[in-house]
């Protein structure tokens, strides 16, 4: 009998360790499929951050490097400068890339570093147990904003892809979501394009993926998906935020 569905070659046999309903696994699977489809597993070095996304180093079949919280893009830069012919990607949570590592997010993009960054945005710090993130929405309750994020005290959430899109070195920026089959197909297209942009050496490519955290949101997996649609999508607008002419011609 023909096998019609299985693990992509880009993923190892290690079972995902994420909480039920978390969409990290979906996003990693998409990357695993893209690595296989582009036939770049053996040419790719991934960089993992600190946080739930940090587990990524065990789940992909390509080489991986893990470093300090927020520094994945600087590490990726070092790898890419040493091995310019290899594919380098970072897989980071929103707290990692939009909080403690913002300086690297801005400058990696400004330099047009030929790497790909995937940001998984669930508006919260998952690994440490549900603290406020730079992406936490106004009024959203977390363990460090127990009365809801107060904009006067904590300021506004950051829409990182929107910021990155303003930088000349970033040539492909997309904001996608892992909440529904339709959006997951869009997400995969964006991730694939981001890697193709790197293969073509055009500049920095960045994909932000809206994701759920049922455990720390205190919602069921189903309700989490609906909460994402109702609350995150109005703030973090989906779509290809930047596609340069060169990228269009790919």
């Amino acid at each position: 009998m023909e096998k019609v569905f299985g693990r992509p070659k880009g993923l190892t046999e290690v079972p995902f360790s994420f909480c039920p309903g978390c969409t990290h696994g979906i996003i990693m699977r998409l990357i695993g499929e893209v690595l296989e489809e582009l036939d770049i597993i053996e040419d790719t070095i991934g960089v993992s951050p600190v946080g739930c996304a940090g587990f990524s180093q065990d789940f992909f079949t390509c080489d991986f490097v893990g470093g300090p919280h927020g520094r994945a893009q600087a590490i990726g830069t070092g790898i890419k400068r040493a091995l310019p012919d290899k594919i380098v990607f970072t897989y980071q949570g929103d707290g990692d890339i939009a909080g403690i590592g913002t300086q690297h997010a801005i400058h990696t993009a400004a330099r047009g570093e030929r790497i790909t960054s995937i940001m998984v945005n669930n508006a919260i710090y998952g690994m440490t147990g549900g603290q406020m993130a730079p992406t936490t929405l106004a009024g959203m309750k977390t363990s460090t904003s127990p009365h809801g994020r107060d904009l006067v005290i904590n300021g506004h959430p950051i829409d990182l892809p929107k910021t990155i899109a303003t930088l000349d070195g970033a040539v492909y920026v997309a904001s996608v979501s892992a909440d529904s089959p339709k959006n997951i197909i869009q997400a995969k297209k964006a991730i694939k394009k981001a890697f193709q942009v790197q293969q073509a050496g055009l500049g920095f490519s960045f994909v932000s993926v809206l994701s759920t955290c049922p455990t720390n949101w205190g919602l069921s997996p189903q309700d989490s998906l609906q909460w994402l649609r109702d609350n995150m999508m109005p703030v973090y607008k989906l779509g290809e935020l930047k596609v340069t002419e060169e990228v269009k011609n790919l």
Partner: protein, 356 residues
């Protein structure tokens, strides 16, 4: 082929890095280390390498981390406040056992401090400046020729032990110009590169990271690193002795004050005072072995330092407190003159009467 040239200390480090086969330099400008990144920006590309000015020191050290993971020779350089920023990344480099070469052109502190020479980062350099229990191999040159030779050696040592190596110099050595012989580097020993990441082509994937999922794994890692540090401690202690053999009194001093102290020793000998010098060259491992022949013999020791007294602690441990150990120090960018050091040695040991 080697030639004798007049070069600024910082530039000597840059030239030596090129000669050592350094292919990537990541840094961020800070006085008094900036000539290193400037020199390499000019000359490293001609040698087939790349200099990238990072967004900050944190970026620079993590770029080094990434590049070192690929087995590429890589270096960063900074000065004290910048080294503080790098400490997180250095801790990770130590844990991931990456051969990164670091340079600290020590200026004064704490805080922004001043640009003058200092040895105030001795603790930070030798005791593990970042979190966790790790050690860097720390080399302390005292003249331009040593800046050159030790930079060359730093790359080999880093690869041999898979450990970051720190060249600890200061603003004076960095800015001063002295003749230096630009020797060709002998071929580096073959090293094992079966740990690097360069794409899992025809082999199993590799992961370079430092997270310990369980305490048991954590302890196993710590024991492995501890064993490596013990090995380094046994094999890599370096020092220079100067008129030490028959000395009644010893100065212990490294770097700039180490060389000033040689003049002090010569002046003392002219006055009939049997003064000698032990100049630590490796600050970690601290050259404890140097003190074995002297700790039951000399009447007293003075450490000469550009801080509130940091290395003196290691000297006291090395002599097992069998010898009185005093401190003479200047701070804030001031350098002691040979006369003031000798006057202090005479004073603390009450030597005026011993003069001939």
């Amino acid at each position: 082929m080697s030639k004798r040239v007049l070069m600024k200390g910082n530039e000597v480090i840059g030239q030596a890095a090129i000669e050592a086969g350094c292919k990537l330099f990541f840094g961020y400008p800070i006085t008094p280390s900036t000539e290193i990144i400037e020199y390499l920006s000019k000359y490293l590309p001609k040698a087939g390498g790349t200099v990238l000015q990072a967004e900050d020191e944190i970026g620079a050290i993590n770029m080094c981390y990434g590049a070192a993971c690929t087995g590429t020779r890589v270096m960063t350089a900074s000065s004290s406040p910048g080294m503080s920023l790098k400490q997180e990344g250095i801790s990770y480099c130590a844990a991931a056992e990456l051969p990164v070469v670091l340079v600290n052109v020590n200026r004064t502190g704490p805080g922004l401090g001043g640009l003058g020479p200092a040895q105030s980062d001795y603790f930070q350099s030798t005791k593990g400046g970042g979190h966790g229990d790790y050690r860097l191999i720390v080399l302390a040159p005292s003249k331009s020729q040593e800046l050159y030779d030790m930079t060359l050696e730093a790359f080999d040592l880093a690869e041999k032990y898979r450990n970051p190596v720190l060249l600890l110099t200061d603003g004076f050595l960095g800015q001063m110009m002295e003749p230096v012989e630009l020797k060709e580097k002998p071929a580096s020993p073959e090293v094992d590169k079966s740990w690097i990441v360069d794409g899992a082509k025809g082999r199993k994937k590799r992961i370079i990271a430092s997270y310990s999922l369980t305490n048991e794994i954590g302890e196993a890692n710590n024991l492995r690193w501890e064993a490596k540090y013990k090995d380094i401690k046994e094999k890599e202690q370096r020092w220079e002795e100067f008129y030490a053999e028959d000395a009644d009194y010893l100065i212990v001093s490294y770097g700039t004050t180490g060389r000033i102290s040689k003049s002090v020793v010569l002046n003392a000998r002219k006055k009939g005072i049997k003064l000698g010098l032990i100049r630590p060259i490796s600050l970690w491992p601290f050259p404890e072995k140097a003190f074995i022949p002297y700790k039951d013999k000399v009447k007293g020791i003075v450490t000469v330092e550009l801080n509130t007294g940091q290395m003196i602690e290691d000297v006291k441990l090395a002599v097992e407190c069998k010898v009185p150990v005093h401190l003479y120090r200047r701070q804030g960018g001031m350098l002691p003159t040979e006369d003031e050091i000798l006057a202090n040695v005479e004073k603390v040991f009450n030597l005026a009467s011993e003069e001939v």
